[in-house]
Structures are given as structure tokens and as C-alpha cells.
Point group: C2
Chain length 371, copies 2
Amino acid sequence: MRKVVVKKQREAMSAYGLDLLIAISPENFAYGTGFVVPSQPLMRWRHAICAVNAAGTSGIVAVDMEETTVRGKLPHSDIRIWGEFTEDPMATLAQLISDLGCETGKVGIELSYLPTSDFQKLHALLPKADFIAADKIFDDLRQIKTPEETELLHRLSRISDNAIGASFDAVTPGMTEMDIASALTRSVYEQGAQDFKLMIVATGPRSELPNVGPTKRILEEGDICRVEIFSVINGYHAGVCRTASVGDPPKKASEIWANLVECKYRVLDAIKPGASAKRVYESFIEKFSELRLPPISFVGHGIGLHLHEDPYLGKYDDYELKEGMVLGIEPLVYQSGYGFGLQLKDMVAVTNNGTKLLSDITNTDDLYRIS
Amino acid sequence: MRKVVVKKQREAMSAYGLDLLIAISPENFAYGTGFVVPSQPLMRWRHAICAVNAAGTSGIVAVDMEETTVRGKLPHSDIRIWGEFTEDPMATLAQLISDLGCETGKVGIELSYLPTSDFQKLHALLPKADFIAADKIFDDLRQIKTPEETELLHRLSRISDNAIGASFDAVTPGMTEMDIASALTRSVYEQGAQDFKLMIVATGPRSELPNVGPTKRILEEGDICRVEIFSVINGYHAGVCRTASVGDPPKKASEIWANLVECKYRVLDAIKPGASAKRVYESFIEKFSELRLPPISFVGHGIGLHLHEDPYLGKYDDYELKEGMVLGIEPLVYQSGYGFGLQLKDMVAVTNNGTKLLSDITNTDDLYRIS
């Protein structure tokens, strides 16, 4: 268990009057323990659970086929193993809750993750426990990263940023989106990522499509190439997007890009502790609206154990920005009306007096050039 | 909507006395529609829902940012869009349920997927509806693939199988696991897969580790190389695993491999409509136990819209095997005690009189040879 996270969880329990706090989603399990149980995100029924009581005593529930992994990562923890085909994880969890002294207590648990049928079983096993939605507690705690989390997100940001640059450098006109993808994924692993998510390789007219992978499309002079990838280590993500032109870019692409770059600097300037996330968005949209294209509803969001997490820098909810937040900032235009899309996504940490760029490898002031 | 699936769903509704059947997990949404909403598996709150009533009338609920994708795929469907930051998908779903005439009806829904807090909202909006767990209905329907599903799984099996062969052919001693991974992922995309899951590249002593990605480890003479990958199209998966030796394999590896190959043929011979899945497993374990290693608890499982689905060929539950099932068959040894692991995973369809091998590219009678 991660001591600093347990401490934050205990403070939250005290504030909300909880006796126990239970993480059951892959991201909050990883938040408490520092690692992802490999099959938990792939097979939802293979529950891995991490509980901490108000005194700071903790316990873990894990499925038998992940026992060696979990014991290896948490050698000194109270680990309860349930058999995949022979036992119910809710029975194991109910026993843990009782052993932690909370069978009649106020138990915070992720009700926006816990499936209904599991909750029904748990409630039947512990009818006197008062189960309360703790989703917002985790969301709020995770908004402020520890220095170690920020350092990992910096490392991941550089992996993504480096990998995209390497993929652009590896190709010339006549090669294909596959060649970009191949260099990209290789670089991500070579730099030590455990995995990646959401690889987007969208070139030429395909650059208008939001979430598409690579095809055999051949790169031609004048193409716009949108490439994004999220590198992953221990459940943490950093997504970076870069846009390149093959040879000289279309004039209109350079004009739109200049707007997106100005948006980026405007957003970076506006972010600081105490700033309103909504007002940062409004400052962005003022510049962005010069493009006379459909506005996007947010220009950034928290990032860490999930691709998107609080806070959002958008037109709806507001949040106060705070030191320790890590944000993905992404001014973008999918359908420009000129046959190409452009996107500039960076990773940024909120510092005591402003921001620190985490995806700090590529100079994005001009479109990257493939030649 | 896929007509043949709607027909199967209506038959199931009739058998269970349901007025409505609601798919809410990514896999069952894909089952009803034939495609995956890109962000649904990545961001659980971006619900995409597919409902069919007893008369066969259907409706779709989708998040605003996926509207163009969903309307493009289902141009003639009743599609209800909810706004990500401004609306609650359960309100949109409740309206759809009412419009389909089921607000006081018996409504089957995936309670093992639907989060507790969403169910609480839905129940409050439609207090007179009788919500019933429909998870088993979907699991049972999906056990028997349509000819189109089997054809797609055949295509995916060949993509995975071909890609692993290509990755072994691309490397020589002195190259690294990264070189295997690079050729592997490239081939998967080049053959038309949209995505892949669970890439395992485990060579030398690392071949003992269950779920590990590639590293910079250099291939040496005598290494055993375990490589697995699941190719993905429209939410369907096909996982294939092959094991190679760099140059001559250790004698013990050839002996264990011969056992695994015999297990494979034994399992293929035993599978036919009407056979007991448990007895197929028992036949396997009889041969496998000659290895005097810890037994594995299942040798196969259904596969399709999920990496693992019913039926399992294992020691616990039993299932009657039926024509139309598609199975992953995987005799394997992780920790052999000799410093290497071996795995042979094939994709198989149950036909009217036996089986058809779907991963039918590589000859696995001997260990694949990297030289």
C-alpha cells in the first residue's frame, strides 16, 4: 500500500465521517497499491479490491489466478484470495469488511463502478452496513497528484512525445501509416512503457476522423498527419498528440495551426493555482473562435489513472485549479472544411506559480515536417 | 441492428417472459449492433445502450460525442443522444423504455455490468418496471455464433496466427523481443485488424511469466519464445499463442511440447456437438498429468466479444458443447522447472460433426524455429 495515498484516504474518511473506504475499479485499486492487476481491466468479474479503515488498517481482495502477482507486489499486506470458479468475491469482501470492524459502519465504496448484482449480494451479506457512494472522494483525491505521480506522468509524457517524433522521423513520402504506427509502438515499448492506449494515426483526408488507427494509406506531399498515443505504466497514462505535414503544409493548415499554438500558450498562461478552469476555457474559446468552426466543449482535462478525469477545462462545470494537478491540454479541429484535421495535445502540471510542460520534447510552434 | 441477433433475443425474451432486453456492456452493445462505440470501453460513463422489445422494436442510447459514429453505423435506427456534461444517460434510457411500452414491464438488463448508482437512478425513474438480471441470457446466446461471427473469428484467428509467424520469421539470434513485437503489431494492422489486445512476448527465462509485454532482451541460441496476441475487429477477438525456439530447443522443451501437441489433438478429437465440456477437460488432464506439473484448471473457453466467455472446458462447471461454438484451446505450462514456459493456443469452431481449426496457418506439430 502507498503510504501517502493511505494518508490522503484517511483524511477524506475523517472529513466524510466514513469508517471504511473501498476501491474496486482498476484505477482506484492502482491508486491505493501502485500497480494494476493484469486481468482486472480485461475481465470485469475478476475483482481486485483495496480497503482502508479509519485507523489506517488495510486489506486486499484478489482472484486466485492473480495471487502470485498480488503477493509479489504487496508482500506485507493482508491479502484475501477468492477462487474464480468456486467462490464469490463479495463473500470475501464482506468478511474483510467485518474483520476491519466495519460490518455496521459507514462504508464508502465506488457505486459508479460496482455492478448492481454485486452490490445486491454485498448488501445481503452485510445488511447493517451503510454503503455510501465514494466515487467523488476518489475523483477529488486523484485530482491532486503526489510528486511521484507527477514524475511518472512526466516520464510517460516524454515517452509519448518522443515516440511520435521518432515515428515522423522514420517515414518519407511513399511510405504508409503502418510505417508510422510501427515506429511509434516500437518506440513506446523501447522507452519502457508497459502498454499503450488509443493510438491514432490519421493522415491526409483521414486526419479529419477523431479516433482511427493506422491503415496502408500512402503518405503524399501536402498530407496532414495527426498522431496521438497514450503510454501506460502501472495504470498511469500520458496522452500526447502531434500534427505533421508531409513536405510543405497547405497554407490554411499553417493558419489554423498558428491559432492552435496561440491557444496552447494562452491556456498555459492562464493556468495557475486558484484560477477557474471554466475561465481558462473561456480565454481559449475567445482565440479559437477566430477559426469560425464549431467550438469544442472543453480544451483540457485531468489525466492520470484514467484517460479523462477531473478537473475539466470546459464550458459546463467549473473547478478551482490547484498545485499538483496534471492536465491534458488539447486545442483541436477535426473537420476544418479543408480536408484535414489538426490537433495539439500536451501534458501540463500545475505548479505553485503556474505550469510546467511535461510533454517537453517536441517544438510544436510550427507543424512538424516529414520530408 | 443485426436481424439475426434481434431474432435470437426475441426468442430468449419469449422463453423468459421478458418485455424488453437491454444491452449496456460494450460487448453486448456490439452483439446487437455489430460495432463498438470507440470510447465506451475506455470511459465507462459514456454509456451506449441497445434495447429490443418483445415485438422486435429497438432503440439506441448514445453519448453526444459519439453521435456521428452511431448514426453513421445505424442510419435507420431510433437513436437517443444524451449530452455528456448536461444530461444523465439513465433519464434517456428511462424515456426509451417508456416509449417502447415497457415502463411497467419485465425488463431484462445486464445487472452484472450496470453500475449500482445508475441502477438506483433508473429504478427511481421507473419504479413500476421489474428489472431482472439478463446477463445469463446474453452469455447463453453468445455461446452459439452465427455463421458471420464464425467467419469473422476465422479471419481474426488467421490474422493472429499469421502475425506471430511473421514475427518469428523477422528475427534472428542477436535481435530483441522488441523486434518480435514490432513485426507482430505491424502485421496485425496490415492484415486489417482494428486493434489488438494482450500482446505477450516472453522469451528465454521470461517465457515463464504469464502476461508480459516485450523488453529489450536479446534473443540467444536455445531460447524458448512464447508469443500471444488477440486481434480485434468490431469488438471480436481471436487469441492465438505460438512457441518457438531459437535454434535447437532444449531436449526437455521438445518433450513437453510433444505432450502439449498431443493434448491439442486429444481435445480436438473429443470436441463435438453433445460432448461434455468437463469430460473434454478430463481427457486433456489425463495426458497433461504425465508432465507431473501443477495442473491447470481449464484447457479452453468460449471466445468472441470477450477474451473469455462461456463455455469453459474446465474442472468446475460443465456445459454441453454445441455446433456454432467457437473456443480458444490452450494447453500450457508456465513454470516448467526448467527455466522456460510453453503455450499452444488455437482457435476452434464446433461443427456439426466435430471441429474446424480456425488458427490454421502455422504447423505446430514441432516448436517453431527461429534461426
